[in-house]
């Protein structure tokens, strides 16, 4: 049995090692969520357009992204894309681009399902009133779809936040990395892993509670 010594864990250690990582993880999560939703909506509309020249590229892209481990995608983007395009690309920027590209594929599935979750009759009703496809999407389908999707978006964001821990593969400094470095420099790896788990749990659990609140709030009364 091992005795735990958490005394080394103090405010100074937090500010000098962990805060920076936390900020990076949060920043990456926010940017990737926003970027991923925009990119994902774009992909989803392509897939729902019915035009083969749009449907196939989007489908192939989404399915490819969904069948490769995120670590591999991170490594690909980080190590090999610069070699291929012949231009350097830093760890932070690389992580951001990777996450937008990767999460976009997942968000597109959410958006697609969200659009399909709007009863078909709604589209019929809008069309019967003389609305064009664009008006129908803009005023009737998407407003309902996005409200249905908000909770799923937020859940995906929590997952995304957890996924940011994988940027260790390219040496970006995220929350987990902050803990690890602190633990190693103080020779307390076991204790730091416990603290890291605890920190992630608190953050993600609180977020999931918020999701449940929001879910109740935005639900459309039918």
């Amino acid at each position: 049995m091992l005795s735990l010594d958490l005394s080394f864990y103090n405010w100074e250690l937090f500010t000098s090692y962990i805060l920076k990582g936390l900020l990076f993880s949060v920043q990456l999560t926010v940017i990737a969520t926003v970027g991923g939703i925009v990119f994902g909506t774009f992909l989803a509309l392509m897939r729902l357009s019915g035009k083969p020249s749009m449907v196939y590229p989007a489908t192939i892209y989404v399915n490819t992204m969904r069948s490769i481990p995120l670590v591999m995608v991170i490594l690909w983007f980080f190590l090999l894309i610069p070699m291929l395009i012949g231009r350097p690309i830093g760890a932070d920027l690389s992580a951001t681009i990777t996450f937008i590209a990767f999460e976009g594929a997942f968000f597109s599935e959410i958006v697609r399902a969200g659009i399909q979750s709007v009863p078909r009759g709604q589209g019929y009703a809008a069309e019967a009133l003389g609305m064009t496809y664009g008006q129908n999407m803009r005023f009737v389908v998407l407003p309902q779809a996005f409200r249905n999707m908000i909770p799923v978006f937020m859940t995906q964001t929590i997952i995304l936040f957890q996924d940011t821990s994988l940027v260790y593969a390219i040496g970006a400094y995220d929350l987990l990395k902050g803990f690890e470095i602190a633990g190693k420099n103080y020779g307390r790896p076991i204790e730091t892993y416990i603290l890291a788990a605890f920190t992630y749990f608190i953050i993600c659990f609180s977020l999931s509670k918020i999701v449940r609140r929001v879910q109740a709030k935005v639900a459309i009364i039918r």
Binding site: M1, T64, I68, M72, Y193, F205
Partner: protein, 260 residues
């Protein structure tokens, strides 16, 4: 692009006689090639993911079911709380951190776990992590059944266990096959974190071999293809199960999105 790299020896970087030399046991004592190593690494990935999959499906089905128990007895209320805690605990900590917990932290307190090989611990970590997600899908599947199904079973005199066994679960499990497919594919992908605790699987191979050979593109391409292939195999297997279990005349509409 130089695929010849896979036929080089892992010891001195010279081309070996047979690419599959040591795996197939052709040239005795021949040096193992990178291809041999790649295949072994794939085997580890499949082993870790396969074991994790079994653990997660079993636990996920049980926990998801427990979450939907009617809160009418003390035992049921306890089981609901237990399964809810289980799900919240295992889905709110990143898989990588959970792998470290299982590998470094928990064995420090429960010494017998130290004797377990690391791939087992990783399978446990993957299995528990994924079970929380599968439990959520199973719960959603059960709750998506019309409430009248449970009422009908109860009205016929079936008790809670019988209702689940004969009426609710057979339908719910069919409904959740699509989201389970994505969860299973996720598990294969998530198994890449196993390299962090020294399971010699594909990602570890990728990182080490690209360092040794400096042929990152070829190595990563091979590894990526093998991951995609494994995930695709799971996808097909589940599609087969779905087809086999299809009920005549019953239309399943499923918009469930599975996150990764």
């Amino acid at each position: 692009m130089d695929l010849g790299i896979f036929c080089k020896s892992t010891l001195d970087g010279e081309v070996v006689d047979h690419c599959f030399s040591s795996l197939l046991g052709i040239g005795q004592n021949a040096d193992p090639s990178y291809l041999d190593w790649l295949m072994k690494a794939w085997g580890w990935t499949l082993a870790v993911a396969g074991l994790g999959l079994i653990i997660s499906l079993l636990l996920g089905a049980v926990m998801g079911t427990l979450r939907t128990l009617p809160a009418d007895t003390r035992l049921n209320r306890f089981l609901v709380r237990l399964s809810t805690t289980w799900v919240e605990l295992f889905r709110n900590i990143p898989i990588l951190v959970q792998v470290f917990l299982w590998y470094h932290v928990i064995p420090a307190f429960i010494l017998p776990l130290k004797a377990l090989p690391s791939y087992l611990l990783v399978s446990l970590a993957l299995g528990f992590f994924t079970s929380a997600r599968i439990a959520e899908q199973v719960r959603a599947g059960i709750q998506s059944l019309p409430s009248g199904q449970r009422a009908a079973a109860t009205a016929l005199g079936l008790n809670t266990f019988q209702s689940y066994r004969y009426v609710i679960l057979p339908m719910a499990l069919r409904i959740v096959i699509p989201p389970l497919t994505s969860e299973s594919m996720n598990l294969i992908k998530n198994s890449s974190v196993a390299f962090a605790v020294s399971v010699p699987e594909l990602t570890l191979f990728a990182m080490q071999a690209q360092e040794e050979t400096s042929h990152g593109v070829e190595i990563y391409l091979a590894v990526t293809i093998l991951y995609a292939l494994s995930a695709f195999a799971i996808n097909r297997a589940m599609a087969l199960i779905e087809k086999r279990s299809r009920i005549p005349g019953f239309i399943v509409s499923n918009n469930e999105v599975a996150a990764h």
